[in-house]
């Protein structure tokens, strides 16, 4: 009996928090009531486990803009919440919201959680741009393992600007006809290359 009461109490709290969250954020008003309830539940669950909620709200709002149905919006938000959780497991609990979003993009591009964890290990600066570059390269057609290897090589020392420059160079080469994997390798060599030290 006590357990039942506790469950009911918990459910009540959840519902209250859902209503509270939905009531506090005017953006929820763009969702129809049914969608709002489901999306709010997912978002509050995410908040409970410490995941960033803003990307989830944005995903729901994107669905509204594009006229998606309730089921599709809820599924999209739920899928993103799951992916954010996977990204956080790989990147660590200290990962920022931007890093997690970039991590999701990389995961969806085909990178494995192991690669994300290796990036975290190798790069002590923010991972946002590194992960975005990884996702970009994969989206351009670079095989994911090649893209991951390239970013992992650059990750320890390259600045964000260097990574962006690297991505631009690869992108431009691909646009002009170079095979994606080859363009990446060449740019990687060019970036990492230094003239051989001279002997006296």
């Amino acid at each position: 009996m006590r357990s039942l009461a506790a469950c009911l109490g918990l459910m009540g709290c959840v519902l209250l928090s859902v209503r509270s969250a939905a009531a506090q954020d005017p953006r929820y008003q763009r969702l129809d009531p049914d969608t709002r309830a489901h999306v709010s539940a997912v978002i509050d669950s995410a908040r409970t486990v410490g995941l960033p909620t803003e990307p989830l709200i944005q995903r729901a709002l994107e669905g509204v803009l594009k006229g998606a149905g309730s089921d599709r919006i809820v599924a999209a938000v739920r899928r993103l919440a799951v992916d954010l959780g996977v990204a956080r497991s790989a990147l660590g609990s200290g990962a920022s919201s931007a890093e997690l979003e970039a991590g999701v993009a990389a995961l969806r591009a085909g990178a494995t959680p192991t690669v994300l964890a290796q990036l975290r290990e190798h790069r002590h600066q923010s991972l946002t741009v590194a992960l975005a570059v990884l996702a970009d390269l994969a989206a351009r057609g670079v095989p994911v393992d090649s893209a991951a290897a390239a970013v992992l090589v650059l990750a320890p020392t390259a600045r964000d600007a260097d990574l962006v420059e690297f991505r631009r160079a690869v992108e431009r080469d691909i646009a002009l006809g170079a095979p994606p994997a080859a363009a990446t390798s060449v740019r990687l060599d060019a970036t990492a290359r230094a003239a051989a030290p001279g002997r006296p």
Binding site: E62, K66, E101, A135, A139, D173, A178, A195, P197, G198
Partner: protein, 393 residues
């Protein structure tokens, strides 16, 4: 040829070291073998080393010198050029000048193989009494993938060690294989050379890699079956410590063998130098450029450019020829459509606050469908359409 007086106590050419030359060839080979490169892939590097060295040639006292070494490399679609020069002034007051040039042409891939024809020339002088030169033609066939490769090469030419003596013919043959794992390149090479009545064989292992921001390079080799070019084991290492994008500190040292082709004698050295290095600038165009034959309508040719303003805000510019109305929506607009202002006949724009990170967006032209414009990375969205992503670093 036995080492004799240090008639040419300076041999600054990076190309006179078999291992280093081979490593340079790896870079060239990888660069040229990997792809049908377009002209846009051409890269140019320039370096200038200024430093001091202590050199001890075999059988002679150590000497200290100050050196200035400019270098230039260019690699393009089917050709590459490398040039080096050195001005060195010894503590004795004697000076040395040296210059070398290597140019090569690389064929298109044929059944996984490429051919390369190279010309290698150089000249040097020490004080006012020693002059040397060499001229070599080399043919190489190579095969390479992303991570490994091999080649066979043969060369022939002439070299001169004294202005009063006739030049001597030379011929070499070599085979090498390399592999790359992440930032580490490992090269194994073996060669046999004939220079006049001198002949010798070299085998070597060269490694180049990175640890943190440090760049490391080392070579170990052995000379054997030698007549007139010495024998033994040699090795050298260098570490490059970047100070910033353009400057680095270079420490190197080791022992290297006699080079009968270019006129240097065996010795050991340590050196420290400041290196200025410049790389060809990459155009600031941050987006994919239009293909020349791309249809020129608004939908297919709309291009987004993202630039951060000095104020910290971000300028979004859309090139949309013939468009009458351009709207943008993304996670930075709460996915609410925002009308862009026309900034020229073909461009539309807005300056707005956008946080650093990865952002998603779509574009709508003249009230049509939401699209992912060029200049963004197009990904499959969760709503059955394409979404454009971009990074604000």
């Amino acid at each position: 040829m036995q080492p004799r007086a240090p008639r040419h106590p300076v041999d600054p050419s990076p190309t006179n070291d078999t291992a280093r030359r081979a490593l340079a060839a790896v870079v060239l080979g990888v660069t040229c073998a990997l792809m049908p490169v377009r002209a846009s892939l051409a890269q140019t590097w320039a370096t200038l080393d200024v430093g001091f060295s202590e050199i001890r040639y075999d059988g002679f006292l150590a000497s200290t010198g100050a050196a200035i070494t400019p270098g230039f490399d260019w690699s393009g679609r089917h050709a590459a050029i490398a040039a080096r020069g050195t001005y060195l002034r010894f503590e004795s007051g004697n000076r040395s000048l040296q210059g070398s040039f290597v140019g090569s042409l690389i064929s298109a891939r044929w059944h996984g193989w490429r051919a390369e024809a190279a010309a290698d020339g150089g000249a040097s002088s020490y004080a006012d009494f020693a002059r040397f030169w060499h001229a070599i033609g080399e043919v190489r066939v190579l095969r390479a993938s992303d991570h490994r490769g091999l080649w066979f090469s043969a060369s022939a030419g002439r070299t001169s060690f004294d202005k009063d003596l006739p030049s001597r013919p030379l011929a070499t043959g070599s085979v090498a294989a390399w592999t790359r794992h992440r930032s580490l390149v490992l090269l194994l090479s073996a060669s046999r050379a004939f220079v006049g009545d001198t002949q010798y064989s070299d085998i070597g292992v060269t490694a180049r890699g990175q640890r943190g921001s440090w760049e490391l390079e080392s070579a170990v080799g052995a000379r054997f079956l030698s007549r007139g070019a010495g024998r033994g084991v040699y090795g050298e290492a260098a570490v490059i410590l970047p100070v910033d994008q353009h400057f680095a500190v270079v420490f190197s040292g080791g022992r290297y063998p006699t080079d009968p082709i270019r006129g240097s004698i065996a010795g050991r050295f340590i050196s420290a130098a400041i290196r200025l290095r410049l790389r060809s600038a990459t155009p600031e165009v941050p987006t994919l450029r239009l293909q020349p034959d791309a249809p020129h309508d608004s939908l297919s040719s709309s291009t987004l450019t993202v630039n951060r303003e000095s104020s910290g805000n971000v300028r979004l510019t859309v090139r949309a020829p013939k468009a009458r109305l351009v709207e943008i929506a993304g996670d930075f607009t709460e996915w609410q459509p925002i009308l862009l202002a026309r900034t020229s006949n073909e461009t539309w724009g807005i300056v707005t606050a956008i946080a650093r990170g990865v952002h998603q967006m779509n574009l709508r032209i003249d009230g049509g469908a939401w699209i992912a414009p060029r200049g963004t990375t197009r990904i499959n969205g969760d709503y059955g359409d394409e979404v454009g992503t971009f990074v604000v670093p």
